[in-house]
């Protein structure tokens, strides 16, 4: 046990490890807050779809040699999020099909473009690290960490301020509209925030694993807790805990960060599911 602490201490001397931990925990917090809404709105796959869009956008950005990829990836992903979430109600192609279409489309086009206009000799490695986020979390610069902190604070503040409105719109959109809540506006807000979180989270777990970060904590919390507030809080705690534990374990055991966090989420989900089944749900 002591050895582990000594080893951890050594690692924490490096700023990049501390950065990874801060960013990881913040992203986990943000994604879990909005994850509850997405799961309940039956939009679990939107995280997946948007992350593929972000992947496609990243491919285009790297081909065009943008100095700052973010400036292209973020708007492109936000735009797709708006199209997907707003079109949800009365689009000709229904929700899940639209998400699947955009998702695989962006993935294919992104990979194709990267292949044709390949700038690096190690294409397979590049693609792999974008998809599974192998190392980028450990190569964050100070500026990137600050950007992440600012955006995360922004997301959390938005969530707290609009908590009741998000609840109303999630539970019953037509009632909310009929009684004067501007449901479209809040759907738009949710779409934009989700897109921001996804682009941030790409650094942490890579684009294939983001939806795990969004849906697992929410689903775990829903096994046990029974009110919206307790589910939200529990989901945030679970997500932060799993991100923290996942990053530590991956440092100690030398495993890939993203998949270790997701495995931690899966383990917690299994525990919560068992607890929920055993007690029939305990919390209020």
């Amino acid at each position: 046990m002591n050895e582990i602490f000594v080893k951890l201490n050594q690692y924490f001397a490096y700023p990049f490890v501390r950065y990874a931990l801060v960013v990881g925990v913040l992203i986990a917090l943000c994604s879990s807050l909005f994850g509850v809404t997405l799961v309940l709105k039956r939009f679990s796959f939107i995280g997946d779809g948007l992350s593929h869009v972000a992947f496609g956008a990243m491919a285009i950005a790297s081909i065009l040699n943008f100095s700052n990829d973010m400036l292209f990836i973020l708007p492109a992903t936000v735009l797709c999020a708006i199209l997907l979430l707003r079109g949800g109600q009365n689009a000709k192609i229904k929700g899940d099909a639209a998400i699947a279409m955009i998702s695989v489309g962006a993935l294919a086009v992104g990979y194709l473009l990267m292949n044709i206009f390949s700038a690096t000799p190690n294409l397979a490695g590049d693609v792999c690290s974008t998809l599974f986020g192998s190392t980028s979390i450990l190569t964050l610069t100070r500026e990137e960490v600050w950007l992440c902190v600012v955006l995360s604070v922004f997301v959390v503040v938005l969530f707290v301020l609009f908590y009741h409105k998000i609840f109303a719109v999630t539970f019953d959109e037509s009632f909310a509209k009929a009684t004067g809540t501007k449901a479209e506006r809040y759907n738009l807000l949710i779409a934009v925030v989700i897109a921001v979180i996804i682009v941030l989270a790409m650094n942490l777990v890579g684009s294939l694993l983001i939806s795990a970060l969004v849906i697992f904590p929410a689903l775990s919390a829903m096994r046990v807790f029974k009110s919206f507030r307790s589910v939200t809080i529990c989901s945030a705690v679970v997500s932060v805990f799993c991100a923290f534990a996942g990053i530590l374990i991956s440092i100690l055991a030398g495993t890939p960060v993203g998949s270790t966090i997701v495995v931690a989420d899966i383990v917690v989900f299994a525990l919560f599911a068992a607890a929920g089944a055993a007690t029939g749900g305990i919390g209020r």
Partner: protein, 238 residues
């Protein structure tokens, strides 16, 4: 005094008209029933009354000092709600959302309103319970309490008893009648249960191939009403 007046209303979607030239009004204290067969345009009329959808032509006038948002609405239960983790209190309170505007949190007044609504619906004891664990009748009462939070003078009920057993149905109708009599809420009820409409409503709008609008007595004298009475008589074997 008329709370809602509809003039020459033509309804439909994608530019196709389903119902044409509807004229009716809902007065204070009315128990107003909208009946009709499936596909006759009941839901479209409801969405139009709630301003979720624009009419093709014609106008809906609200009574003095009344806002379209002041209609309390009891929707049919949706797929999303079936496993929604939310306590009864949270759901009832969300009925006050329209009053909040941009204010992020509920104030004391609104919390009090939600408490009163739960008392009226006799669900105070369920306040902390989880919505998805309630019975069909309890769920309906929760949603009705939420509608009460949003309502100032009018409640719009969409098939309030669909899927409920006869005993719970009767309780539901009693509750609605109580709101109409005691609290002087105007009720607009959409239903295909003509028997209940004739029993409780004072005015009836029957939509379909022909449209009828008038008091209950007039309805029973009308061609449609007579058809119904014959049917009802037939099934009762009297």
């Amino acid at each position: 005094m008329a709370l809602i007046t509809c003039q020459n209303l033509t309804l439909g979607y994608d530019g196709k008209a389903i119902l044409q030239n509807l004229n009716f009004s809902v007065n204070e204290g009315d128990y107003f029933c909208i009946v009709g067969e499936n596909g006759s345009g009941k839901s479209t009329l409801l969405k139009t009354l709630l301003r979720l959808q624009a009419p093709i032509s014609g106008s809906i006038l609200m009574g003095e000092g009344l806002n379209p948002n002041d209609i309390g609405y009891l929707p049919q239960q949706t797929f999303v709600q079936r496993d929604f983790p939310a306590s009864v209190r949270e759901i009832v309170l969300s009925g006050c959302q329209g009053r909040c505007g941009l204010r992020p949190f509920y104030n004391k007044e609104e919390k009090e309103l939600a408490k009163k609504a739960m008392e009226k619906m006799r669900i105070e004891s369920l306040a902390e319970r989880c919505y998805r664990e309630l019975s069909g009748g309890q769920k309906q009462r929760v949603l009705l309490a939420r509608a009460l939070c949003a309502a100032r003078k009018i409640l719009l009920l969409d098939e309030p008893v669909s899927g409920l057993d006869p005993k719970v149905t009767a309780e539901m109708y009693d509750l609605i009648e109580e709101l109409n009599q005691k609290d002087e809420m105007a009720i607009i009820m959409i239903s295909h249960d003509i028997a209940a409409a004739v029993k409780y409503a004072n005015r009836i709008l029957h939509i379909g191939e022909t449209v009828f609008f008038g008091t209950k007595q007039e309805y029973l004298q009308s061609e449609m009403g007579k058809n119904f009475a014959m049917l009802a008589g037939g099934t009762k074997n009297e």
